[in-house]
């Protein structure tokens, strides 16, 4: 472990993941803690999970599953690709993937911002509950599945089954959509949508025209099991 001023370097080739996570979770304190660099991640799983401090963490290389899982307050940057479930259940803070992300990106995220500068695989934003996700490239099939709240911004194309069984989350797609899922529908882009998009694109560092996006929302036809016979369920 190397410490220079407010900057700390943790080398996963030299120390265990357990020690790295323990340091990040318990030894940073709750006040602004400067910068932490994690070297030689080599695709390790579960790096920097459960952070709860306003710290800036840079992972210098590819990370495996669940990197920055359940993040609170921290800013985590993965200077490489990320495996399945990056920033799953993110609560707050910012997680940025400089490369591509595997499936389940931001799954069930409740708050904060997740940026994937490359592409994200299938089920991006699945079950999201209030976080914002901005993907610079394409997203795979069934992205936004059962997404409950928050925004999924796709600057490239979206795979089939986009927004299947969508609740109240909103999806914006700049490129082509290869088919919508059950209960998802295209909706008019409003001024409020443009403002939201402008804010999210700016935060994510993308310079796209908000007016070039298509809005996908829920048709809400699945909100009641069968409206005609609803009384029968009582």
């Amino acid at each position: 472990m190397d410490s220079v001023g407010a900057s700390v370097k943790l080398d996963l080739a030299q120390t265990t993941l357990r020690k790295v996570n323990h340091f990040l979770q318990h030894e940073l304190g709750k006040e602004p803690a400067g910068t932490v660099e994690i070297l030689n991640p080599a695709g390790a799983h579960n790096i920097a999970v459960g952070l709860d401090a306003p710290v800036d963490v840079h992972i210098r290389g590819h990370a495996g599953y669940y990197v920055a899982g359940m993040n609170k307050r921290a800013t985590v940057t993965i200077h490489g690709n990320a495996g399945k479930g990056v920033a799953e259940n993110i609560m707050s803070g910012v997680v940025r993937v400089k490369g591509d992300a595997s499936d389940g990106t931001g799954a069930s995220g409740q708050g904060g911002l997740l940026v994937v500068e490359g592409n994200a695989a299938s089920r991006c934003g699945i079950s999201m509950k209030g976080c914002d996700i901005v993907v610079g490239g394409n997203v795979g099939h069934v992205s936004g599945f059962m997404a409950q709240a928050g925004h999924l911004v796709v600057c490239g194309d979206a795979g089939a089954g986009l927004g299947d069984s969508l609740y109240e989350a909103v999806i914006y797609v700049r490129g082509r959509t290869h088919g919508l899922g059950a209960d998802a529908r295209e909706e008019p882009l409003t001024d409020a949508d443009r403002a939201t998009l402008a804010e999210l694109l700016s935060a994510a560092g993308f310079d796209y025209d908000p007016g070039a996006f298509t809005r996908i929302g829920s048709a809400r036809t699945l909100y009641h099991w069968n409206a005609e016979h609803r009384e029968a369920y009582g």
Partner: protein, 446 residues
């Protein structure tokens, strides 16, 4: 064929089947209901104990101690769960149950020295405050799931399935999605909530192993990780749960209850608790994991004899759901109000098209005794103190019955009960439990 005078009723298309077809044809929807399977199934009643006599001697009932202490999660956790009894409370959500019910359960479990479990929808403050030992479920929906509550938990239970609907997702109809429930689950109030049947961020046992590792990293390796499965392909599923790193396997048999699911699921999916338990123990034995990974069995556990037989078959603990609800007053004709007076609610059952003793309308949110509801007026019918008193008594009786049988078998610890103490009363139970038919040495299929 059933013949009544000149009339002949079809066995295949009897009056029940005709009513089902007519209902389906008229309404175009399937039936959704609560509770568990109502059809006949082999149960622990089909086994009996060979208690002590000449060949071994019993313990004195009131003088010689019979230990009930139970420890779960010894494989990897720094702080395994330590309980005074092997009888635990299964996961039931706030949403499916009222806040009064959840608090009653927490208080009774704490008094009994056992654990209770959250459910789909997250952890409430009342539940955490009232429960000394609380198991926090990680479900496919992840409703209300967050790192702060995760770190308040005494154990974590990754739910893959449940016995009432193995392979199915959760369901909470709009009548029960109150403002508070909706807020906890980040859903619009009053909608029919659908839950996914698969987790959002892992698929298969190799992924689950990494997920479990993440949960351990998140909680500093302090608390045990349980994996709950519905009983279907038990031998393989238990082995995969163990391979994935589970400290405790929770196996829920076909008789397990639910707050709401399709009737076709409840009665036609999964296998009964009795054979499921035997297969789970065999799986642990084949992996040389008995004593390392603990096994909790649930699904239709009702009495102290059920508990004793489950332990003898190889379970380390049991989990109760429907029995808990009944102890709180489920299916009673009356509730006891704050003044201690009994109030007859039979007419409220009639409004649901049922009667005390027959009700399974948890899905409706109109529970006449205030247990499975989010309606303020109905909820008040369950007085927390009274619910906790009744449930505490029930848990106490189960433990007393358990030690009664264990002492009679000559055991100074309930966990010393063993398969050799049991024989079967029916051929099917003998085959499923792999215990000899009483009075013989015959085990069908061996």
């Amino acid at each position: 064929m059933v013949k009544t005078g000149a009339r002949e009723e079809s066995f295949s298309f009897n009056r029940d089947v005709v009513a089902y077809i007519n209902s389906a044809a008229e309404r175009g929807v399937y039936d959704i209901r609560g509770m568990g399977a109502k059809r006949y199934l082999p149960t622990f009643d089909d086994l009996v104990f060979l208690t002590a006599s000449m060949s071994r001697y019993p313990l004195e009932g009131y003088r010689e101690k019979c230990e009930t202490k139970t420890v779960l999660g010894t494989r990897s956790a720094k702080k395994p769960v330590e309980l005074d009894t092997p009888i635990t409370i299964a996961g039931m959500s706030f949403g499916a149950l009222s806040a009064h019910a959840k608090e009653s359960i927490g208080r009774a479990a704490t008094a009994a020295g056992t654990s209770t479990t959250t459910g789909d929808g997250g952890m409430t403050l009342e539940e955490r405050a009232s429960s000394k030992t609380l198991v926090y479920q990680c479900l496919p929906s992840r409703y209300g799931f967050n790192p702060d509550d995760l770190r308040k938990a005494d154990a974590i239970e990754v739910v893959i399935g449940q016995g009432a609907k193995p392979g199915g997702g959760g369901m909470l109809l709009g009548q029960k999605v109150s403002a508070r429930v909706a807020d906890m689950r980040t859903l619009p109030e009053g909608i029919d909530q659908r839950s996914a049947c698969r987790h959002p961020d892992w698929t298969g046992p190799d992924d689950l192993a990494i997920k479990i590792h993440e949960l351990r990293e998140l909680t500093d390796w302090q608390v045990p990780i349980y994996v709950k499965i519905g009983a279907s392909r038990v031998l393989n599923d238990v082995k995969l749960a163990v391979k994935s790193g589970a400290d405790v396997v929770v196996l829920d048999g076909m008789q397990g209850g639910t707050a709401a699911t399709q009737q076709v699921f409840i009665e036609h999916a999964g296998i009964p608790t009795l054979p499921a338990l035997r297969q789970a123990v065999e799986a642990l034995d084949e992996m040389d994991m008995i004593g390392t990974v603990q096994l909790v069995i649930s699904g239709g556990i009702r009495t102290g004899s059920d508990v004793a037989k489950a332990l003898a078959m190889g379970a380390d603990a049991v989990a109760l759901g429907q029995g808990v609800l009944i102890a709180l007053g489920c299916n009673s004709a009356c509730y006891t109000d704050v003044q201690g007076s009994e109030v007859d609610v039979t007419p409220d059952y009639e409004k649901l098209g049922t009667a005390p003793g027959y009700c399974h309308h948890c899905q409706s949110g109109q529970c006449p005794v205030g247990i499975t509801t989010q309606d303020d007026e109905l909820e008040r019918r369950l007085v927390v103190e009274e619910g906790a008193r009744r449930l505490g008594n029930y848990l106490s009786v189960l433990t007393l019955e358990l030690v009664t049988l264990a002492r009679a078998c000559g055991k100074s610890k309930v966990h010393n009960l063993e398969r050799e103490d049991l024989v079967a009363l029916t051929v099917e139970a003998a085959a499923m439990a792999k215990r000899p038919l009483a009075g013989t040495d015959w085990i069908p299929g061996t």
